[in-house]
Each structure stands twice: as structure tokens, then as C-alpha cells.
Amino acid sequence: MSSHVITLAGYLAFLVAGIGLEALAHRPGSRIPAIGAVADRIMHSRTGRIAVAAWWAWLGLHLFSK
């Protein structure tokens, strides 16, 4: 197996893990919060909210800007 495939498999594994956690979070009585609840908790603090907004802004700049 090439390193390209291994790297892609790693990304895919994390994506599947995220989807799995979200599915588990929606089961009745689950102790795992949904991703929206985690985002709400992070963005409830001033530092967290500004940090998330700054990461979002950086992503756009990273993909398109000089």
C-alpha cells in the first residue's frame, strides 16, 4: 500500500469517526454531545468565539489569498 493511500485512509478514518460520533450523539440518552452543542459551548466564551471566527477567516485566506 502506497503512502498516498495510507494518508488518504487516515483522513477518511477521521471523517468516518466524526460521522460516527455525531450518529452516537443523536441516540437517546447519549453522553456524547452533538457537534453543534460542542460548537455552542466553545463559542459561548468570548475567546472561543473570536478564535473560531479567526480560524474560519484564515481558512478562506489560506485557500484563496496571496
Binding site: 498516498h4 494518508t7 469517526a17 456524547i32 454531545p33 468565539r49 474560519w56 485566506l61
Partner: protein
């Protein structure tokens, strides 16, 4: 939230300045510093400068607010809560969501028009840089403004429940960084060790692809602003 008297604000400013170096020792701010370093070694000077500036601004804000809280606690005679970060109220969040709900259709139309036009600009060109920097800066300024003057406590999440999310987030970040470091050099893409940006390149090579990604980026910003 009452506006502090001018001398109290000056005291808080001076105290914030003194505490600023210590405020850098904060997980979020350290993350920005590390990300700035990786951006710099990847040859992305603008991104590195932006991340560093964002981290320093957060450090300053964190120090300033802690100093203001401490001086407020000292004058009121009540003990301060230096570890507690103020948050905005549930009512203000609901008002913001209602306002954004009313603006949804115009915002979708504006976002679609923006994405369609800016998608035609070549990547890494000045028109693309300026066109993306404007909403990016606006998003950060809105976040800064919206979270000012808050009062309620955040709801608590189960730590054991949050841990798997933290593990997935940290693991994915480490995987991406490993791919970046296994490239011939951080500024040169590698087929053998692709980063997420490298994997996005085929989509971002065409104008419709760039438009779709820009629209998704704006939609993500809208989603975050509603939280």
C-alpha cells in the same frame, strides 16, 4: 453592562498591558502561535502574520478583560473569578438568530452572487485576496463585537462525552501536520503525503469549483455566526 469610569478604564488598560505576556500562556492563543509558525515555514507569510496578529489580539483581549474583572472585584469588595471568561446571554443569541433568520434569503442570494463573481478570480491573485479578506475581516469583527458585554454562564458538557471529539480533532490535526512535514519541504506539495489543501487543489483549479468552495466557506461562516 455598566461603562467603567475613565480612571477605572485606564487602570484596567495598564493592568492588561502588564498581564499581556502571561495571557499568551493560554491554549487557544498558543494554538494560534503554533499555527502561525507552521504557516511561516510553509512559505505563507501573510497567513502567518494574520494568525500571529489574531493570537496577540486574543492575548491582549484576554489580559485586558481579566484585569478589568479583577479591578471590578477589588472596588466592589467581592472576590473575582479570574479563570472565568464572560459569555453573552441566551437572549442576545436568540435575538441574533431571529435577525439572521429574517436575512437568510437575501444573504443566500448575495453569497451566491459573490461566489459566482469571485470564483472567476485566479487563486492567489490580488483580486481574490482582497475579495476574500473583506468578508473574513468582517466575520472576525462581528464575532468580536457580538461577544462584547456579556453576562451569563455557559452550559456545561460532559467531559467524558467531549473527549472523543477532542481526540478526533487533535488526531486529524496531527495527521495533517504529519503530511505537511513529510513533504519534500513544507512549501512544496507532495503526491505521496497529500495535505487537505493539496487534495482540494483539483476542485479549486476551476472557476465553478472555486465558486462552490467560496459559497461553502460563506455558509460555514453564517452557521458559526448563528451559534
Amino acid at each position: 453592562m455598566p461603562v467603567p469610569a475613565p480612571h477605572a478604564r485606564r487602570t484596567a488598560f495598564a493592568a492588561g498591558l502588564r498581564r499581556c505576556p502571561w495571557a499568551v500562556v493560554h491554549p487557544v492563543i498558543l494554538t494560534f502561535a503554533i499555527a502561525a509558525y507552521f504557516s511561516y515555514v510553509s512559505g505563507e507569510t501573510t497567513g502567518a502574520a494574520y494568525l500571529l496578529a489574531a493570537g496577540l489580539a486574543l492575548a491582549w483581549d484576554h489580559a485586558h478583560r481579566r484585569a478589568a474583572r479583577s479591578s471590578g472585584a477589588a472596588t466592589s469588595g467581592r472576590p473575582g473569578r479570574p479563570g472565568r471568561v464572560p459569555v453573552f446571554s441566551r437572549e442576545s443569541a436568540e435575538r441574533r438568530r431571529a435577525a439572521m433568520g429574517r436575512l437568510l434569503i437575501p444573504a443566500v442570494l448575495a453569497g451566491a452572487g459573490y461566489s459566482a463573481v469571485v470564483g472567476w478570480f485566479p487563486r492567489y491573485s490580488w483580486p481574490a485576496t482582497i475579495a476574500v479578506a473583506i468578508p473574513a475581516a468582517a466575520g472576525v469583527l462581528v464575532a468580536w463585537r457580538v461577544s462584547a458585554g456579556s453576562a451569563s454562564k455557559p452550559g456545561r458538557l460532559n467531559r467524558a462525552g467531549v473527549a472523543p471529539w477532542a481526540l478526533v480533532g487533535a488526531g486529524a490535526s496531527a495527521w495533517e501536520l504529519a503530511a505537511l512535514y513529510l513533504q519534500p519541504d513544507p512549501g512544496t506539495d507532495s503526491y505521496a503525503h497529500p495535505t487537505l489543501t493539496y487534495l482540494a487543489n483539483p476542485i479549486l483549479a476551476s472557476a465553478p469549483g472555486r465558486s462552490a468552495v467560496l459559497f461553502g466557506w460563506l455558509a460555514a461562516g453564517w452557521y458559526l455566526a448563528r451559534r
